[in-house]
């Protein structure tokens, strides 16, 4: 039996795995101590729990426990990494390279630093969301201190070749920071294999609790340090002050442990379901895949249904199915997704896009129902669309002089 509403917006956040919650509960009630209380059992228990979580998290990405700095989530991790490196390595240079399709937590942090005197290079992407590695190499100067490129994109799922990016970055003496919010726990990440120096990720995108994340900061080859962005008790090796969110951290650890064990099976199952969804929806006339079909996250697909508007389309089924759209009809600027625009999509196609993101608890039945409902809605809205009618009559829409408004 299908239960409604169906959740296919796992890139926004995931539900918690019940096993994660079970692990967390005791740390709210019985073992509520402050992990920094060094002289009584309450503190020791909390510290032990945090240590265990650190191990679980470190194992998932193949680093050591000491390289994990707990944060409130990936936005904080992005800020701490970029601002922290900018401050710490100011004597070496002031140039940072990033990509136009990064999350706002990276882009706006870079814009903030620009005002303080940083030089930022924003690399463009091709129509599938890939960067040009030669362009990256040519952009690195002797003033470049950091290259900030996400592991996988949150809107279209394109996975960047982080290992190659790291090689280029290191060859030129800069550090590599990657925002792995969407990738961690979904696909294999190994900071040694990949050559990552700093990496932000968060629990709530991998079936853990909201409000807790981590920044991986490399300690060897090279030893990397970031300047703290918040003053206080000097927790987390002086890089991030603040009492640790022990239950959250315990949950994060458990989520990483589960991911470690189940990630491959999840990815295999979900990519099959995603491919089924893809195949069915892309068989509709004038529907287009956004992103890199051959190098993308297994659980996600982003499709534009030309001649229908995304929000209007969603409305046909959003009482029953939760997805997200690149249309920004509700935003004051009426600007559609900047990520899709960076891929070179016209505004019309960007307005027409839907992102479906599956998760551990998605079922084939849900996917089948979604295919049926979305197909029905696309047909219904096209019957209502003047653009569809014009297209069917063979009118070239680009020849029409639209009254801009």
């Amino acid at each position: 039996m299908l239960k409604f509403p169906i959740y296919l917006d796992n890139s926004a956040t995931t539900p918690m795995d019940p096993r994660v919650l079970d692990a967390m509960v005791p740390y709210y009630l019985d073992h509520f101590g402050n992990a920094a209380s060094r002289n009584h059992p309450f503190g020791w228990e909390a510290e032990d729990a945090v240590d265990k979580a650190r191990e679980q998290i470190a194992k998932l990405i193949n680093c050591t426990e000491k390289e994990i700095i707990f944060t409130s989530g990936a936005t904080e991790g992005d800020n701490l990494a970029i601002k922290g490196i900018y401050d710490m390595y100011a004597r070496k240079g002031n140039h940072i390279i990033t990509v136009t399709t990064e999350h706002k937590a990276v882009l706006d942090t870079c814009k903030h630093l620009e005002k303080l005197g940083a030089q930022i290079t924003y690399l463009g992407v091709d129509s599938e969301g890939n960067i040009d590695l030669n362009e990256l190499e040519n952009a690195i100067t002797d003033k470049t201190i950091l290259v900030a490129i996400m592991y996988a994109n949150n809107e279209v799922g394109t996975i960047h070749p982080i290992k190659k990016i790291a090689e280029i970055t290191h060859k030129k003496g800069a550090l590599l920071f990657t925002d792995a919010t969407q990738a961690a726990g979904k696909i294999s990440i190994d900071v040694e294999r990949d050559g990552i120096d700093l990496m932000a990720f968060t629990a709530h995108k991998m079936y853990g609790p909201k409000g807790v994340g981590a920044l991986y900061v490399r300690r060897k080859n090279p030893r990397v340090k970031v300047t703290a962005q918040m003053d206080g008790g000097g927790h987390e090796r002086g890089m991030r002050s603040g009492t640790l969110n022990v239950p959250g951290i315990v949950g994060f650890g458990k989520a990483c442990e589960i991911a470690m064990n189940e990630m491959d099976a999840d990815a295999e199952r979900l990519s099959k379901l995603r491919d089924k969804l893809d195949t069915a929806l892309l068989s509709l006339e004038e529907s287009y895949l956004n992103g890199n079909k051959n190098s993308r996250l297994p659980q996600l697909t982003n499709i534009s249904f030309k001649y229908v508007e995304g929000e209007g389309l969603m409305m046909a089924f959003n009482q029953n199915i939760a997805v997200s759209s690149g249309s920004a009809c509700t935003s004051a600027s009426l600007e559609p997704s900047y990520v899709l625009k960076a891929l070179g999509l016209g505004d019309d196609l960007a307005h027409s896009s839907l992102r479906f993101s599956l998760g551990r608890f998605s079922t084939e039945e849900q996917v089948d129902y979604t295919i049926e409902q979305v197909t029905k809605a696309v047909h219904k809205l096209r019957e209502m669309s003047p653009l569809w009618e014009m297209f069917k009559e063979g009118i070239d829409l680009s020849t029409i002089e639209w009254a801009a408004h």
């Binding site: 001649y307 209007g312 009809c329 509700t330 009426l334 209502m384 669309s385 639209w402 009254a403």
Partner: protein, 139 residues
Amino acid sequence: MAYSKKVLDHYEHPQNVGTLDNKKKEVGTGLVGAPECGDVMRLQIEVDPETQMIIDAKFKTFGCGSAIASSSLATEWLKGKSIDEALTIDNMDIVEELALPPVKIHCSVLAEDAIKAAIQDYRKKNNMPELVLEEKIVH
């Protein structure tokens, strides 16, 4: 953001979706908006040349639920009005009727623009003097 019941009603059961024969002299067509902006509305009226009454109205809209609801409502209101009466339909009447939130006011403006454009088109086709319309700068 949740939609109002009236927007949902119009969205689920849109009134007067369709196309009138634009070759007919009695039919006026208004096409407003732009695909880049995420909404395009086409509103058509058929006018009785004797009485100048709107005897039929149809729409097709590319846009969000509120844009679809605004155009559906506009066609309902147009039928049975004279082309002069139809000019008095104000976008704020649509906002009120559909309980549109502030971010969706542009949908109602688009509907008002579409009504006026359709009437203008009808007048032009029938050699009536062009209307001078004041611009609503809301976008």
